[in-house]
Subunit: 455 residues, 2 copies
């Protein structure tokens, strides 16, 4: 009987970096219109390959492709915000890289588990053990409509998610480590005693198996999940995930979430160090904070100033467009308070109190999806180190403002500083995604999963 | 209003060649055990890339991945006979080639049309217009079990196939040719009047759309279909397909089928020249027929001799294993007749009458899935030319005996002969799969499809 868990790779300098690959332009509104950006980059895999190679130069453990398989209503003025298709794009990128891993988002709501198991494992095999699956559920009506279905209610979505992930993992494990003999002399191709059907029958999905693909160099792909820490999502994370991709704005929020995620893993009988908590960060690397803000103002332009009412609501004050290039008045600052409903309000109020103009406050990305760091290398390194050492994150997934030059800027300026500080590896710890994340390799069926009552 | 059909590329030397990519070893039984073959090639994308690059050197229009997403019962002794996953593998190969096209088999029975539309179009875009979809239905119980479903009856399978293909084509066409503006100066990203939902609701599948991917250099992927010419399949071929991949053994059978396929296109209101009828051929290129047979005997070994009873049944005679290295006796030859139920019987009887030994008859692949040509370049070129000029085929999909050296042998020896004879192009006619097949580019919705009562 093969033990499903093999050796654990841990490094001393073990801050993990990943990078989001999205639309080919960058996270900053207006990035697609920046002077140095080719507006065709949404379909130019060659551009994404350049970004991936830059991230690999910076020893990033993985690329992560968020997904939203629908066209948003504002397509006349704003680009489609995600990669054209996660698995296909990452597969192409795998052929131009050798170490960086690939975490593709794939919904358990609208996919067949057998197809997902097969495609992710195919990428895992042909990338020599670098694939990961960000398993999510989908509740957006625009996406559901593309599959001709209504939005399922939450209990059903998560029941299907459990079933799907268990089937996918079991299909991945349907070849034990030694199942593929391929002995030319004897003519034995596989050992049928180690290559078996899985026969999983759920309420929503089912599969007999086995999968027609042997293990990769890391055994099987790494499972991630992402989102807010609802009990439903934590039950997914705790049982199956080796990576948790979060959206948080403050260290306190992140520490609390990370503790919840680790506790969920423990409750599922796992070592909490086997699930890596990865927080988002949006970066503008520039010689100074002022130059960084100017870069963001030049690129984001009107889309920033359109956010004035939003900022006013976050701070609970009246703000006029005429005040764009003024700081908040003493009266406004006295009245302002951070909205307890919005964790971004605190950081916004903090820079407002430092006397920043309204335009600069907005340019700092205080209304963005993640914390934003703007300025020289130290600003970014300090943020990463502070969160890392505070136990708020095992790693970060970065979204550069503009991919075309933002990845290189981070890799050339921030990465060396992290390495000097001894918190980030100077070489890849290994060749597979599992090795580079520091999570154990996995072969065969995971007894902790397959013995559960849900299977 | 954009006309959906653009210019037609026709070449004079227009025999089309494609090549099957299967298990990484070759079509000959035992290929995985051949001395020059790495038994790991089933998972080595690098090996498939070499084969693809060789085919591209030979100006092959496309690679074709048959598919059977299940593990067969004989996996202990025989390799899994298909590529690990069609789309993922071909996407990887696209990054190491620049002209050859990719025809991936994808079932309409167990896939979501939105996912298929998205993944095929993503490959089409990132390969710069080289993708095709071999749309098939699936009735195999082993495959159905992997999706946890019973086998659907034929009427349902084909109804779902029509619905799926119409949805996929409509999603591909949901961006008109000029929909993607991406004008940095004005900030207009797309023209919403040319980028529209499709709102197709079938009995089995449905989608709102639009797809979040703009057109490729060929507009959209090329649709193929494959199989025997049942009325159900001909209705698919006639309405949607630009390529028909067949399995036939004789010129007469092929001519009749090709006429049926062309008639189906005409009945659907299309130009029959827009659907290319592609027949299979399995090749062993060797300095002489004798050396070719010896190569096949050396590789296929016992798997050949196990076919003696099958050959006996095909010819209606008793054959003993002791007769392996003898020709049929005059009495056997007098009694033998080609089984009218098996079109392969005629070619088998023909070589038997030439005095071949039983082993050599079997080594010639008379019980294979397609005609087999064995010997020097002229043998293959003659076969191709004869079928092509007889109107039995617009092109061929080749399965080399052993990929490792069989592709190079064909490209280096047979292709130049076809070019000398003026029936095969010396350069790629164009850059896209549509150009290299000689079928028109396609943008927007196809009015002949979307006006049909089935949509």
């Amino acid at each position: 009987m093969t033990l499903p868990y093999g050796k654990r790779t841990m490094t001393k300098n073990n801050l993990i970096l990943g990078m989001a690959l999205t639309d080919g332009y960058g996270n900053l509104r207006g990035a697609w219109r920046a002077p140095n950006v080719d507006p065709s980059n949404y379909v130019n895999i060659e551009a994404n390959i350049r970004y991936a190679q830059a991230a690999e130069r910076g020893k990033f453990a993985f690329l992560f492709t968020p997904d939203f398989p629908a066209v948003r209503a504002d397509v006349e003025r704003a680009p489609i915000s995600n990669i054209i298709e996660p698995l296909i794009s990452l597969t192409a990128i795998s052929q131009a890289t050798s170490r960086i891993g690939f975490v593709a988002t794939g919904s358990t709501t609208f996919q067949e588990p057998f197809n997902q198991a097969r495609q992710f494992k195919a990428l895992d095999v042909l990338s020599h053990g670098r694939a990961g699956w960000n398993a999510v559920t989908t509740s957006d009506p625009a996406v559901a409509a593309n599959y001709g279905r209504p939005v399922a209610e939450r209990t059903e979505r998560y029941q299907r998610a459990h079933e799907s992930i268990q089937i996918v993992q079991a299909l991945w494990g349907s070849w034990e480590k030694e199942a593929w003999i391929k002995d030319q002399a004897s003519g034995r191709f596989a050992d049928p005693s180690k290559l078996k059907p899985i026969n999983l029958q759920g309420e929503y999905v089912a599969s007999r198996g086995p999968l027609p693909i042997p293990p990769s160099e890391q055994g099987q792909p790494v499972i991630f999940t992402s989102g807010g820490p609802s009990p439903h999502l934590l039950s997914i994370a705790g049982r199956y995930a080796s990576g948790f991709i979060s959206e948080v704005w403050t260290i306190e929020e992140a520490r609390a979430q990370r503790a919840m995620v680790r506790r969920a893993a423990e409750e599922a009988g796992r070592d909490p160090d086997e699930i890596k908590y990865i927080v988002g960060l949006m970066t503008t690397v520039a010689p100074s904070v002022r130059e960084g803000l100017d870069r963001r103002i030049a690129i984001a332009g009107d889309t920033l100033t359109a956010q004035v009412p939003h900022l006013a609501a976050m701070l609970g004050v009246q703000l006029q467009h005429s005040q764009l290039d003024q700081p908040l008045t003493p009266e406004q600052l006295a009245a302002a308070q951070a909205s307890p409903m919005d964790p971004r309000s605190g950081p916004a109020l903090e820079v407002a109190r430092q006397g920043w103009t309204v335009r600069d406050i907005l340019a700092h990305g205080v209304i963005d999806y993640h914390p934003v760091t703007v300025g020289p290398a130290e600003v970014h390194a300090d943020h990463l180190q502070e969160w890392f050492e505070a136990g708020a994150a095992d790693g970060f997934w970065l979204s550069p403002d503009v991919y075309e030059d933002g990845v290189d800027a981070f890799v050339d300026h921030v990465v060396p500083l992290l390495q000097e500080r001894g918190i980030y590896p100077t070489e890849y710890p290994g060749r597979t995604l599992r090795e580079n994340l520091g999570v154990p390799e996995l072969y065969g069926l995971d007894p902790r999963v397959t013995s559960g009552e849900d299977s």
